[in-house]
Amino acid sequence: MNNPLLKHSWSPYLVGVGIGMLSWFAFWSADHPLGITTAFEHTAAMILEAAIPGLAESNSYYQEQSPKIGWQWMLVVGVLLGSVISSFMSGDREPITVPPLWQSRFGASAGLRLTVALLSAGLMIFGARLAKGCTSGHGISGNLQLAASSWLFSFIFFAVAVLTAFLMYGRSVRDV
């Protein structure tokens, strides 16, 4: 068990230092902050452009932005691959549909969990695009640059998420 890749988890501080240093590398090597949601926006924009003829002419998005398969797009593919490698090496595979904590509060229905996941993930990324960043783009990359927008975004999203979580699960739910 000397190979750290075989371990299920690393210290959160070690992981944090790693992500901090990885962002030095990203700024230096690609002149890019770590960020995830732009790639989703670009993918959706390219699919829509292909699916709806004339959209690129009528929608100002396509005049002001240039969706592409770029560094950020491959970053997302890399996150998937990195997690696949990490979880297979440690055996930390979790092929579950309804997380136990969710199940303890809302029941075992896969349909309910998947419907809510679809809608809430949609709401989440819509918010991320309104603010131009997510937990990576604002929460890590923006905050470490001391960007005013990122600190405000982080404060608001954390507060709203705490409120939402307590409304959903209350204080009574057991630790799962």
Binding site: G78, G127, V173
Partner: protein, 213 residues
Amino acid sequence: MFDPFWKLALGLLTGMVFGLLLQKGRVAKFHVIVNQFLFRDWTVVKIMGTAVVVGAVGIYALLPTEAVSLHIKPLVWLGVVAGGVCFGAGMAIFGYCPGTSVAACGEGRRDAMVGVLGMLLGAGLYVILYPQLSSLLESWGDAGKVTLPEMSGTSPWLWVGGLCVLAIGAITLSVRGSSGESPRFPKGDRNVDASSTEGPSRETNPMMETDRT
């Protein structure tokens, strides 16, 4: 349409390290994210706080050498506020954030895979509504691409230094808080299973301050 090959390869490599770190950090897990917002697991704050402090020191140290440049997102008031509200509610319900949901797919979590589809739909909605949204979002004004030091007319090192002090203080309190209650761990064991140090550290609120400064 495509970046040059070297840049794509660089993105893939950077992403793989990022995905590995997220998975090993246990933040690709529903209960770790949700329990953070219920103040029962401080993993998310520990990782983000440490990443921000380490990142800030390096980026501001490299800035004068011109090896790096800042990429600040504009402070469009309505966009940041409304975006933060939608994002916070969505993340708490979904139980993953955009990056960690991709990592969660890598672990095999099926609700995260459906969520990734939902993210594409949500992003599509944003693209469709973009012309209307871009004028609406400006209605509260736009403070531009400003940093906190610029806004306050202070040195960035004052802020970076402040964050370092807060982080060291929070980690010290957190470690002391957990070693008081739990049986003593050999030092190496902490790294094996971070969750064993989670519970007792709740009271000491580690690193929360760095998020609220």
